[in-house]
């Protein structure tokens, strides 16, 4: 096949994915939209009733909402890893995943951004988080990790969105040529008049490299800042220096699992088997295995630090994690995040897409549980036994959590029909 024919076929195949949706697609969209509607309904109910309808109360003031926030920020991270870090390392397999991963990042940050508002209860006061002087000319407390979060997450969203859009520009120009009607006009405007001249490509290449170079430390800083929401306090189980790298590795681990969860069915439904190959999945499975090992190592270090510190509160806390009231969640988390991914040492399993898909679901569950265990067990058993108390999420919180998954999958499904799901120009570059 000549290069010209291949390019033509590639454009046709990738853009064919944006044509008329199948019944399966509509069914998936309907289920996601229904879950999202459930979440909105529960949030509306919470706004009407007040935060008391949720299970969070003293001593466990951070529950499922903060778990969801950390989970979704973590999911966002792998998008940047696959796009930016693998770009800087010139890993060719990234071009099969980077567009989906970047879209996943933007959507996951949007989802994550809702949870601080939901957790506020009176969400209409969200602007109190913003750095502006109040009526007494007092500013927000810049020494607080919660304010660092505002800066980190909003910067992350902005840079991820810019990175996503910049990567799309040459492909939007291709879509402009291939589509007719209203879509042609939308792509004509969005592609900014891209012609692919040498000058345009020159500036484009520099911009892409700079954005990748900015996004790489950003991805590390954002989840470090999220971890410091916990580590800056003195609560046993939270106050530890390992938190930043531990959270960053966990975020990349969970995000990689979510990429597999999304791309395995997407590849099948949209018929992209030729361009997203088993070799590509094997490469990403290796990242999953590698980050799983880092996360497992962190679990061990946490316990060793508590033991070696000789601090009775730390020792008591970690004993509670392992054998206390939340032990089933803890051991399930270890099974999903530490034990099960070890099977990826077997090459045959790394190349089995059905297995990878099921494994990625377990890892998603395990990583959600990890955040739940870290947040809830520490608050449930702090220094003073008179201040101990357990927490269980209520219906509204579960509904909002399901709604966040609904929102995430719904927006991702819409993305697959509105924009090219593969970086066409980049695939062309590698195949030439």
């Amino acid at each position: 096949m000549s290069l010209g024919t291949y390019f033509d076929q590639l454009e046709h195949d990738v853009l064919a994915a944006m044509r008329k949706p199948s019944k399966l697609y509509w069914a998936a969209l309907a289920v996601s939209a229904a879950a999202f509607a459930l979440g909105l309904g529960c949030w509306g109910w919470q706004i009407y009733e007040g935060l008391g309808m949720a299970g969070i109360r003293s001593p466990v003031g951070w529950g499922v909402y903060i778990t969801d926030f950390v989970f979704w920020v973590g999911i966002a991270h792998s998008g940047t890893l696959i796009s930016a870090v693998l770009f800087l390392f010139r890993a060719k397999f990234r071009c099969s995943f980077n567009r989906s991963a970047e879209a996943m990042t933007v959507i996951a940050v949007m989802t994550a951004g809702l949870f601080p508002l939901i957790h506020l209860g009176r969400c209409w006061f969200f602007y109190w988080l913003m750095p502006y002087p109040n009526q007494r000319h007092l500013w927000v407390n810049f020494r607080s990790p919660l304010i660092w979060d505002v800066f980190a997450v909003s910067t992350y969203f902005t840079i991820s969105a810019v990175f996503f859009f910049v990567g799309l520009i040459p492909d939007l120009a291709i879509a402009r040529r291939r589509f007719t009607g209203w879509r042609h006009w939308v792509f004509r405007i969005l592609s900014l008049g891209w012609q692919g001249t040498a000058e345009q490509w020159k500036h484009y290449a520099w911009l892409y490299m700079f954005l990748a170079a900015f996004a790489t430390p950003l991805v590390i800083s954002v989840h470090s800042v999220v971890s410091w929401d916990f580590a800056m306090s003195v609560i046993p189980g939270w106050h530890t220096t390992i938190f930043a790298p531990y959270f960053v590795a966990g975020a990349i681990f969970s995000g990689t699992a979510m990429v597999i969860t999304l791309v395995v069915p997407m590849r099948r439904i949209l018929g992209l088997d030729t361009y997203i190959t088993v070799d590509h999945f094997e490469a990403i499975a290796k990242i999953l295995l590698f980050t799983s090992l880092i996360v497992s190592y962190s679990y061990i270090v946490e316990f060793v630090l508590a033991w070696y510190s000789g601090n009775p509160f730390e020792i008591a806390h970690f004993s509670f994690r392992a054998v206390g009231d939340y032990r089933y969640l803890y051991w399930l988390m270890l099974f999903c995040n530490g034990l099960l991914p070890l099977t990826l040492f077997v090459k045959r399993l790394r190349r089995n897409l059905k297995y990878l898909f099921v494994l990625s679901l377990f890892v998603n569950v395990g990583m959600w549980l990890e955040r739940f265990v870290i947040i809830v067990t520490s608050l449930a058993r702090d220094f003073d036994p008179y201040n101990w108390g357990n927490y269980a999420p209520r219906f509204g919180e579960i509904g909002i959590t399901i709604g966040s998954f609904g929102m995430f999958f719904m927006l991702f499904l819409i993305f697959t029909k509105m924009l090219p799901v593969l970086a066409i120009a980049e695939v062309k570059e590698h195949s030439s």
């Binding site: 840079i159 990175f163 008049g193």
Partner: protein
């Protein structure tokens, strides 16, 4: 008069481009469009490095300065001691300054890209000029049609 060369093959395209430049055609009289970034084109046409890095540097420096100026300035504007920490707690402000460095650096780089590439190219959007999947060289021969 514009003479147009179209190629499906990257190697043949680069060969032709090199031939044209070697034969004495000034790079300014050549317009090249490619379906993806071809590094060799910049060398053959002797294109100057992009000025984009200047935008990036200015953006990042502005973000860093703004981050520290903002946090230190507001702390000094109304000194309020909380949590036993110093009024100007520089280590904690590094986070804000770092994030703003990346935010300003990234956004100003993007704006610089739009400026240097003359985007959005309104005439191209209105006229609906397309770019195909081929490698194209357009040579302005300077002759009247």
């Amino acid at each position: 008069m514009i003479r147009e060369y179209k190629f499906d093959d990257k190697a043949a395209f680069l060969h032709q481009l090199e031939e044209l430049v070697r034969s004495g055609v000034h790079p300014r009289r050549l317009t090249v469009t490619t379906p993806f970034h071809v590094h060799e084109v910049e060398h053959i046409l002797h294109l100057r490095p992009s000025w984009l890095k200047l935008f990036t540097l200015i953006g990042a420096a502005a973000g860093l300065t703004a981050g520290f100026a903002f946090t230190v300035g507001t702390a000094l504007d109304w000194p309020l001691r909380t949590g036993g920490k110093p009024i100007v707690a520089l280590p904690t402000y590094i986070i804000v300054a770092f994030e703003l460095t990346i935010l300003f650096g990234g956004v100003i780089s993007f704006l610089g890209f739009l400026f240097l590439s003359r985007f959005p190219d309104i005439p191209a959007i209105v006229s609906g000029t397309e770019c195909g999947p081929e490698f194209i060289i357009r040579e302005d021969t300077g002759e009247a049609v």
